[in-house]
């Protein structure tokens, strides 16, 4: 198979798995039982299909076998289960059965589930990734990850977290938890593990946008991730290269254009949000490929809006860096100082890196050296650490 064909097959399989699992979990209100039943159905397919040939509607075949398993299990366990049995009888409705993956994503990112687990749960349930694949990204052992995920699924069932889509007033907050988890999965820098979850995260964001086409934030997130992804090659080539010094020839221009088109569509809704603004900042960085210059003043303005409404430690520190690059040293110093005294900032590596460059620009060599050394000590990899030490 060619890489493209392989990729297409992978996407199709992932799509089918998530659809089936979401539908089964939605009907039975039980993610773990749905996973078991679907795994059994897939196993049955491996025996039956080579023997009898692939059925005309493979997904429906799998759904029926999994459904039967769930019914058997429910009878066997004498647990009260209330599936919509009418659904079983009606082929047409089976064909028309709605895609329940958005519901499943919202359940995975429910506020009653530990936010640290949202992304891992989504990757497992909607994309079918196993614990061994997910665990390294979250710095956990496969066993620990498996245990935590099965606990979470137990809670979904036992505490009866609803699978119904939340009402209009609750949707924005619930949706933002989903988007944040997707972005967390995307941002995991697991170059060390040799595996990135970026493609999976992009797939999930596409899924959300598909279901909620009128919502601008999923599009914003998608645009943000595509912009970052478009620069992947440039980031990974010569050790660690900061964005503003990357060789733009290595950027994927087509992907950046696609990101800008998505962002423009999002902006059409007239409802700005944090992901749209982050995407706009990335879009401004990407414009260097065309103009040859990074528009730091524009970036600073975008950070000002972002931090006025949705400040996070990460965006506040990034704004200091942008101020420094824009030649506003006083502003950078004034905004950086209060951040450095926050308790949660003490272990936040980018804060010390940015603080080091600010001190260097201000001619304070001693502070620059100590902050950059502190940042280097917390660096994710050797390349980044040596970049920071090299700046001392």
């Amino acid at each position: 198979m060619t890489p493209a064909a392989w990729h297409a097959a992978e996407v199709a399989a992932r799509d089918a798995y998530g659809r089936l699992l979401a539908r089964l979990a939605w009907r039975w209100r039980d993610v773990a039982a749905a996973e078991d039943a679907l795994a059994a159905a897939l196993e049955a397919a491996l025996t039956a299909w080579p023997r009898d040939g692939v059925p005309a509607a493979p997904q429906a075949w799998l759904a029926r076998v999994a459904e039967r398993r769930l019914l058997d299990a429910a009878r066997h366990a004498r647990v009260a289960a209330h599936p919509d049995t009418q659904w079983m009888l009606s082929q047409e409705r089976e064909e028309a059965a709605m895609d329940r993956r958005l519901s499943l994503l919202l359940v995975c990112a429910h506020p009653a589930i530990d936010a640290q687990l949202h992304a891992a749960l989504m990757l497992q349930t909607v994309l079918g990734l196993d614990s061994a694949r997910i665990a390294p990204a979250f710095l956990a052992t496969p066993e620990a990850m498996k245990r935590r995920l099965s606990r979470a699924k137990e809670k979904i069932r036992q505490a009866r977290i609803p699978f119904e889509l939340p009402g209009e007033e609750a949707l924005p907050e619930r949706l933002s938890a989903v988007l944040e988890a997707i972005y967390a999965a995307f941002s995991i820098d697991n170059d060390a593990a040799g595996q990135s979850l970026a493609d999976e995260a992009i797939f999930l964001a596409e899924l959300v946008s598909l279901h909620l086409p009128a919502e601008p934030e999923p599009l914003g997130l998608l645009a943000l991730m595509l912009h970052v992804q478009a620069r992947r090659a440039a980031r990974l080539t010569l050790g660690f290269t900061p964005l503003a010094q990357q060789d733009t020839a290595l950027w994927d221009r087509a992907m950046a254009r696609q990101a800008d088109a998505l962002l423009a569509r999002a902006a059409g809704a007239g409802r700005p949000g944090p992901f749209q603004l982050e995407a706009a900042i990335q879009s401004a960085h990407a414009s260097r490929a065309v103009t040859g210059q990074t528009p730091w003043e524009q970036i600073l303005g975008l950070y000002a809006v972002l931090n006025a409404h949705w400040p996070t430690l990460g965006t506040l520190v990034a704004a200091c860096a942008a101020a420094l690059e824009a030649g506003r040293l006083d502003q950078a110093m004034a905004e950086w100082a209060p951040l450095a005294s926050l308790p949660e900032a003490q272990g936040y590596q980018p804060l010390w890196a940015v603080g080091g460059f600010i001190a260097r620009a201000a001619g304070d060599r001693a502070a620059a050296a100590s902050r950059l050394e502190r940042a280097a000590g917390m660096a994710q990899d050797a390349a980044q650490a040596s970049f920071l030490r090299g700046a001392i």
Partner: protein, 119 residues
């Protein structure tokens, strides 16, 4: 589905005597909350508890009984009461918890009630 709402309030110093106003205010907000719960027809049980300093904690270690004055451990909050409610799902239970006066200054824990599958 039944959930227990556990109302935790901030611990007050043992010598703290609430003013008449404070007492009236407490009675009013809890009265309103309980009225709303009862009007919804979802309450299956519950009790309010006497203050934490009236409690005793018992442990059996090596067959010997240890009785301690007060609650199990020093904490900033203590259980002041609970209700059992019957609602369709967790989101509804969380909505009721959010309305509880205890959520404003203390916290409200929501725990599903164990249902014996063989019962």
């Amino acid at each position: 589905m039944q959930y227990t709402l556990l109302f935790h309030g901030p611990n007050m110093p043992a010598d703290h005597v609430p003013s008449a106003e404070e007492q009236a205010q407490m009675q009013r907000v809890w009265g309103e909350y309980m009225t709303a719960l009862n009007a919804a027809g979802i309450v299956r049980g519950g009790q309010a508890l006497m203050p934490v300093h009236t409690g005793s904690t018992v442990r059996l270690r090596d067959g010997k009984r240890h009785v301690q004055d007060g609650p199990m451990a020093d904490s900033k909050e203590s259980l002041g009461g609970f209700v059992v409610i019957d609602v369709p799902d967790l989101d509804v239970a969380l909505d009721w918890a959010a309305r509880s006066p205890s959520s404003l200054h203390g916290s409200t824990e929501v725990r599903p009630v164990w249902e014996n599958p063989l019962a």
